[in-house]
Symmetry: C2
Subunit: 233 residues, 2 copies
C-alpha cells in the first residue's frame, strides 16, 4: 500500500467521523420532529422563527470572524461569499432579509424580529457561544464547526415539504430562505470539507475538527431546547 | 440657533479634529521625505516594499475583524468591498497581488515578500497592534482608525510622481497599486467618515474616535521608524 493510498484512507475515515456527527444534529430534536409532523401551533412556529432569527443575524459576523483569522487568501476569496449570501449586496437582498420575510409570513413584524423581544436566554447564549468560538479558536476548527451544512440540505427539503403540507397558513413566498439554502449549503459544505481535509492531517487535528462539529451540533440542539421550553405544547 | 445647527457645528468641529490628525501622518516621516526627494537607494526601496507588504496582507483581516464586530448590516454591505479590493475575487486580482507586482518591479521575488524574511520586529508589532485594535476595540473606533485614508490620496499622488521621476528603474506597471488607491481611498474615507459622524455624538465618543486615528497614524509612523533603522543611508 502506498503512502498516498494510506493518506486517502485516513481522509476517508476522517470524513466518515465528521459525517457521523449527524447523530447529534438537531433534526432529531423532539421540537423539530413535532415541527415536521405538523404538530406545532402558530405560536410555536412564531417563537421558533423569532428565536432562530437571532442565529441568522449572527451568521455573517461568525463568518467574518473566520475571515479575520484566516491567513489563506484563496480560502478567504471563497469564504466571503457566505457573508454576501446572508447580508445581500443591497437593501432587500440576502438571507437575513429572506428570514425577515419568513417572519412576516408566520405573522411577526420585522421590528418584532429585529428588537429580539422573543429571544430566550438559552438561544442567545448558544448563538453567542458559536460566534465566540469562531472568534477565538483556530480558524480551521471554526470552519469545521460549519460542517452541519453537510446535514442541512436533507433537513431543508423535509422542512419545505412539511411546511407546505401542514402549515398552509404560511405563505409559500415566505419559504424562500429554505429554498436558497438547498443550493448554498452543499456548495458551502464542499468548500469547508476541502479546507478541513487539507489542513487537518494529524490525528489530533482531525479529532479537534470532529469536536468542533460536535460543539456546533450542540449549539443547534441547545437552541431547540430553549425554544421548546419557552413555547410548550 | 436650532439644535440642528448646533449639531451640524459640532460635527464640523469633530471632522476638523479628525483632519487635524494629519499632523501625525507618516508623509512627514524623514524616511518618507527622503523617498519623495529621490534619495533612497534600491536596497532601501526594496526594504520598504517588503516590510510594507506585511501591512498589506493584514489589511483584509483587519477589515474582516471590523465586519465581525459590526452589527449594522448596511455598514457591512459597504465595508466588505474593502476586503474584495485587497484580496481580489480570484487569483491575479486585488491589492495584495498588485503589491506583489510592485515587489517584482523593485527586484524582489514573490517568495521573498510572502515568507516575510525582510520584515522587521518593529513593523510586525506595529501591524499586529493595528489588527488587534480592530479585533478588540468597539467597531466604530476601528472604523475611525481607518481614516488615515483621508490623507492617503495626496500621499499617493506625490509618491507616484516621485517614483516616476526619481526611480525610473522601477517599471511603471509596478505602480498600479498606488493608482488604484487614488480612487479607492477617497471612497473608503467618505464611508468611514459617514459612519463615525453618525455614531460618535457625545464628546467622549468623538474623543475616542480622534484617539483611534492618532493611534493609526502612530502605527504607520512606527513602521517607517523600523524601516528607517533597518535600512540606513
Amino acid at each position: 500500500m502506498t503512502s498516498t493510498e494510506l493518506s486517502r484512507e485516513a481522509i476517508g475515515g476522517f470524513v466518515e467521523a465528521l459525517r457521523a456527527q449527524s447523530r447529534f444534529y438537531h433534526d432529531q430534536h423532539p421540537f423539530h420532529l413535532r415541527m415536521n409532523d405538523g404538530r406545532l401551533s402558530r405560536r410555536q412556529i412564531q417563537g421558533w422563527a423569532a428565536n432562530r432569527f437571532y442565529y441568522q443575524v449572527n451568521i455573517p459576523r461568525k463568518d467574518a470572524a473566520i475571515l479575520a483569522n484566516c491567513p489563506d487568501i484563496d480560502v478567504r476569496r471563497r469564504w466571503i461569499r457566505r457573508i454576501v449570501d446572508h447580508d445581500g449586496s443591497k437593501s432587500g437582498e440576502g438571507g437575513i432579509e429572506a428570514w425577515l420575510r419568513l417572519g412576516e409570513a408566520v405573522g411577526l413584524s420585522r421590528d418584532e424580529l429585529r428588537d429580539e423581544r422573543h429571544v430566550t436566554p438559552g438561544v442567545r447564549s448558544a448563538v453567542d457561544d458559536y460566534v465566540s468560538f469562531a472568534r477565538t479558536r483556530p480558524w480551521v476548527e471554526a470552519v469545521a464547526s460549519s460542517l452541519t451544512e453537510l446535514f442541512a440540505p436533507d433537513l431543508m427539503a423535509e422542512r419545505l415539504a412539511a411546511f407546505e403540507r401542514f402549515y398552509p397558513w404560511i405563505e409559500r413566498d415566505g419559504l424562500a430562505y429554505f429554498r436558497a439554502r438547498l443550493d448554498q449549503a452543499p456548495r458551502d459544505a464542499e468548500h469547508a470539507l476541502e479546507v478541513v481535509t487539507t489542513h487537518c492531517r494529524s490525528a489530533a487535528e482531525q479529532q479537534r475538527a470532529v469536536a468542533a462539529l460536535t460543539f456546533k451540533c450542540d449549539v443547534l440542539w441547545r437552541m431547540l431546547n430553549a425554544i421548546d421550553q419557552a413555547y410548550p405544547d
